[in-house]
Symmetry: C2
């Protein structure tokens, strides 16, 4: 099948910010017309579910200015170091936020937060075989760390008190993954 | 417990766009310091899983310029009519995109796409008791509609071919909801 073609024909930078750039783009559609699309450019991100042998995992609570509230999330962060892969960024974030390093890393896929107008994608990981090290917060990071069991997390996803998108998606994917992998000895061992 | 206080003390509008505004904000943190935060302002959205009696549901495929690719998603859209509630917006979107109206609507909670810097939140719904009507696409909307079974959807979430965040989160939440509601007669009946 020939895929429909959508072609960027012109892009104007309207705003160059701290975290984001905004362009107004002219895009050719398969019907031959050109439409205007506003696009927010933001670097990629990473998100990690770091699983203990008892299937509890690390979560963090912090103020999120975009939604003007305290938000419980899985550890996550920007992949904005040009010399780091996404996996290296995930390892750095997990150690910085939770003071943990992991022996095993499983790719849990990409998460698109708001694909209509936002370029950000978040690479998700399941990490296990954990060893405690030390947290390294940035000066302006004020983070409370906790551990949740899978059952508690699912309860709070279903009662709508966990609302962070990547956190809902990755917890429920890992729960599905654990249910599908009956040979869970690997997860029980460090 | 006294919640930590984060107070907006100054907000400067840097960009006024078609879909989004961007401000640079000064925010007082509980440690007494003031930090600069860039914030993208975007209207709220809605997302709907419209379930048939056989537990198949509607999905749509369209070009998403933010991530420059075709994306499979649950029906969704902006809640940008000032005289419409979120539920009314969801009913409108479902009929426009899928040509379907639903008798029953269940609140499936809020989804935060990228809370650190983006104001958008998406209200999620499970809709059932469906009746076919007519689609009403916007002039610049080119949407392919399909129906997926829950099993197929979960397979493609787990093999990482479904990557849209709200779609992953809402499908897995509804799957959990269906597993928890053993009296599914209500879902089997129109």
């Amino acid at each position: 099948m020939v895929k429909p073609q959508y072609e960027l024909v012109e892009s104007t930078l309207n705003y160059h910010g701290i975290l984001v750039d905004v362009t107004t783009d002219q895009v050719n559609y398969p019907n031959g017309h050109t439409y205007t699309r506003e696009k927010i450019h933001h670097c990629k991100g990473v998100c990690i579910l770091a699983l203990n042998p008892d299937h509890s995992f690390y979560v963090v609570n912090q103020y999120r200015h975009g939604v003007n509230q305290m938000v419980w999330e899985l550890p996550a962060g920007k992949a904005d170091h040009p010399d780091q892969t996404l996996l290296q960024a995930a390892k750095r974030e997990l150690e910085e936020e939770c003071g943990v390093i992991a022996k095993h890393w499983i790719d849990m896929g990409e998460f698109i937060p708001s694909g209509a107008y936002l370029s950000e994608t978040i690479q998700c990981y399941l990490a296990y075989g954990l060893t405690q090290t030390h947290t390294h917060f940035d000066d302006d990071e004020f983070i409370e760390i906790d551990k949740w069991t899978m059952d508690d997390a699912i309860t709070h996803i279903m009662d709508n008190t966990i609302t962070d998108g990547k956190t809902i998606a990755l917890i429920l994917k890992v729960n599905q993954w654990l249910n599908q992998h009956t040979n869970q000895k690997v997860m029980k061992s460090k």
